[in-house]
């Protein structure tokens, strides 16, 4: 096996620039994609105000004060046209009886005109829930305050209401941070979404898979150059032949992942938590799985050209399903979420995010590591069976 390992390392040394380019490219692309998801672009949200009450105006003021989206008040027809054309993310429709519902202690209704469900729509719905809840609370506080003070004094109830409302708004502002958390809980969602961390983890894993799969795919070049057959008639055993290739491909994966993760930590400030051993474990198991996947893919194709055609299809589709490009938390389809379970990427991201995002320890990577190991062993078994020795 040592002969094969030394050979592969020697070949790698001669082609080190390919490895460097792939690593640098992975880093640059991970950075570009994560930046793209975190750009300063702010979607436009239109507001259609069909209720001419003071309450609707207050709701609009609250919305406009939030800086997540840009807002513009338009007519209903204009709103539907703009949303349909895609020039606005969505339109919020304040129904005619919005103010009346609040006065009557009924739940007021806000409508949304949209063409799709995506992350921004979810955020918008969350903001709307938060603002209306907060506004209704403010109104109720101001009404009760005005009624009570009005009864024990001669003060003007309308003026009292206005002052009490303004004070309530100020009070919310003072506790803004707490409000954000509360609104998240009120929205009944566990979504904790950090684009930079997710994108860097996702794209680092995604691009490193190419390097690992093509590293093990070198055995197909051996067949092309007839060195495969020549090794088979030498005293080197088949186990050593395959083992040497797997070891070097695994090491290539380790080196690249270490570079990518270290660079993301030191260049982009990604914090992978304090449990290095857990991070190393999940990544090593992932690299084993991808190496085995590479062996399996090399076993089902006849030559390197076929591998080059098949690999992008397999890796890109599983990357999309597995949530390397966007978080699975924003996916609603049960089918896609079900299919994600059979991709190594999903489990690797879940494990790394458990450490980097949720600051969990080993307990966060146990399930992902076991699933990845299982997948790796299946791919390994199939790969060994399928690799052609003649």
């Amino acid at each position: 096996m040592l002969s094969i390992i030394l050979l592969r390392l020697k070949k790698l040394k001669g082609e080190y620039y390919v490895f460097l380019i792939m690593t640098a490219l992975s880093l640059v692309l991970a950075f570009i994609f994560s930046s793209a998801y975190n750009s300063d672009y702010t979607p436009m949200v239109l507001i259609v105000n069909n209720d001419d009450s003071a309450y609707s105006q207050k709701a609009i003021d609250e919305l406009v004060n939030s800086d997540t989206f840009n807002y513009k008040i338009v007519s209903y027809d204009k709103a539907t046209e703009e949303v349909r054309k895609g020039s606005a993310l969505a339109a919020i429709v304040i129904k005619e009886n919005f103010g009346e519902s609040i006065d009557n202690n009924n739940t007021p209704t806000l409508g949304i005109i949209k063409t799709k469900n995506d992350r921004d729509i979810m955020v918008l719905q969350s903001i709307m829930n938060s603002i209306t809840s907060k506004m209704i609370s403010n109104i109720k506080i101001a009404q009760n305050t005005a009624d009570y003070i009005g009864e024990i004094t001669d003060a003007n109830k309308d003026e009292l209401f206005k002052k009490a409302y303004d004070n309530a708004v100020k009070g919310w502002k003072y506790q803004k941070t707490i409000n954000i958390n509360v609104s998240t809980l009120e929205a009944d969602t566990e979504l904790y979404y950090d684009n930079t961390i997710h994108s860097i983890i996702g794209f680092s894993l995604f691009f490193s898979m190419y390097t690992i799969v093509f590293a093990i795919g070198e055995i197909l070049n051996d067949r092309k150059y007839r060195t495969w057959q020549r090794i088979l008639v030498s005293p080197i055993s088949k186990t050593s032949m395959l083992g040497g290739n797997l070891v070097v491909s695994f090491l290539v994966g380790v080196v690249q992942i270490v570079i990518l993760f270290a660079a993301s930590q030191f260049l982009f400030g990604v914090d992978y938590g304090s449990n290095f051993a857990a991070l190393a474990t999940i990544l090593i198991v992932f690299i084993f799985t991808v190496t085995s996947l590479g062996l399996f893919l090399s076993g089902i194709v006849k030559n390197h050209a076929q591998l080059s055609a098949l690999t992008p299809i397999v890796l890109t589709s599983t990357a999309m399903l597995g949530g390397t490009m966007w978080p699975l938390e924003i996916v609603n389809s049960d089918i896609i979420l079900g299919l994600a379970n059979i991709t190594p990427q999903k489990w690797a991201i879940q494990g790394v995010k458990a450490l980097a995002v949720y600051n969990e320890g080993f307990e966060g990577i146990v399930t992902p590591a076991i699933v990845l190991l299982g997948m790796g062993l299946v791919f390994f078994g199939l790969g060994v069976k399928l690799v052609k020795y003649d």
């Binding site: 002969s3 001669g14 150059y225 060195t227 030498s234």
Partner: protein, 311 residues
């Protein structure tokens, strides 16, 4: 003493009978030739002897031990020069030799010494540090041979080692084979070049369509067509009258024409000259030259199969 014995060896690929029941043996210290056209089954036979394929049936024994049952024990004693160049193109000649030497268990100074010796044998010492992809076809062939010699094999198997190279490299390879044999190495040499086999091999098996159609020394094989000779006659012109007259000469078995040349296949060819000259004189054609071809393996193959070796 037989070093290698092949007995009733068969290799079928589905319906294709690539090798169909061949038997031969290779004696220690000889250059044994497998001669046959492309597709005759030579490379498949070599692949089975070198342990790359298992036979469909039959036996191969090396020094009495079955190659099929104990391939790893025998691989160390074999040197295999494959028909295709089997080297790493992005590595240098030296790096390739180091790898193949390492694969056969050579290490350190022993490996370096063998590489130095072998690079002299194959005549490529000056270019060893160049990458294989920069080599000419002939140089690649030489390294291809060198890689099989590093571990001093007892039996060297060479499968068409001179295909597609320049005459100079070819001559160097043939001389190398003879030199290695003089030093005691047993060699199996396959080729479809009749002259190479004639030059190198003491015993030959002729293969066609997966079967051995004749075996023996060169003399024994040529004896199959004993008495048969080919006579090439160049004339100023050839016409139908001349051909029909020549066909009437006793001992002339076959007349072939090519422009102003006639090729006669004869028995006891030396007896026809008198008739040949007198009969030609009766026509309007004049003889420019006469060349008697000595019987060779090409003629044997033609005699046995009805086709030329390079068809």
């Amino acid at each position: 003493m037989s070093l290698l014995k092949v007995n009733n060896l068969k290799k079928y690929f589905k319906e294709v009978k690539a090798v169909n029941g061949i038997t031969f043996d290779v004696k220690k210290g000889e250059v044994f030739g497998l001669l046959g056209p492309n597709g005759a089954g030579k490379s498949t036979t070599i692949s089975m002897i070198s342990t790359l394929f298992n036979p469909t049936s039959g036996e191969i024994t090396y020094n009495g031990e079955s190659i099929v049952e104990k391939p790893k024990a025998i691989q160390q004693k074999l040197g295999v020069v494959p028909q295709e160049i089997a080297l790493y193109p992005t590595l240098s000649g030296l790096e390739n030799l180091k790898f193949w030497g390492h694969a056969y268990g050579l290490r350190g100074s022993e490996l370096n010494k063998r590489i130095e010796d072998i690079s002299q044998v194959i005549g490529i010492k000056d270019r060893l540090k160049d990458k294989i992809e920069k080599y000419s076809g002939g140089m690649k062939r030489r390294i291809n041979i060198g890689a099989a010699l590093l571990h001093k094999p007892d039996l060297l198997i060479m499968d068409e080692p001179t295909v597609g190279i320049d005459p100079q490299s070819r001559n160097h390879i043939l001389d190398t084979v003879l030199k290695l044999n003089e030093e005691g190495m047993t060699i199996i040499y396959t080729s479809h070049y009749m002259e190479e086999v004639e030059y190198l091999c003491s015993r030959i098996s002729i293969m066609d369509m997966g079967e051995i159609i004749a075996s023996g020394t060169q003399e024994e094989l040529v004896d199959i067509i004993k008495g048969q000779k080919k006579i090439n006659i160049k004339l100023d012109h050839v016409d139908d009258t001349l051909i029909s007259i020549i066909k009437t000469i006793e001992y002339v078995e076959k007349v072939e024409t090519h422009e102003n040349e006639m090729i006669l296949t004869t028995q006891n060819g030396e007896n026809i000259f008198k008739d040949l000259i007198s009969k030609t004189a009766e026509t309007e054609s004049n003889i420019l030259s006469i060349d008697i071809k000595k019987p060779n393996l090409e003629a044997v193959f033609l005699h046995l199969t009805g086709k030329a070796l390079r068809d």
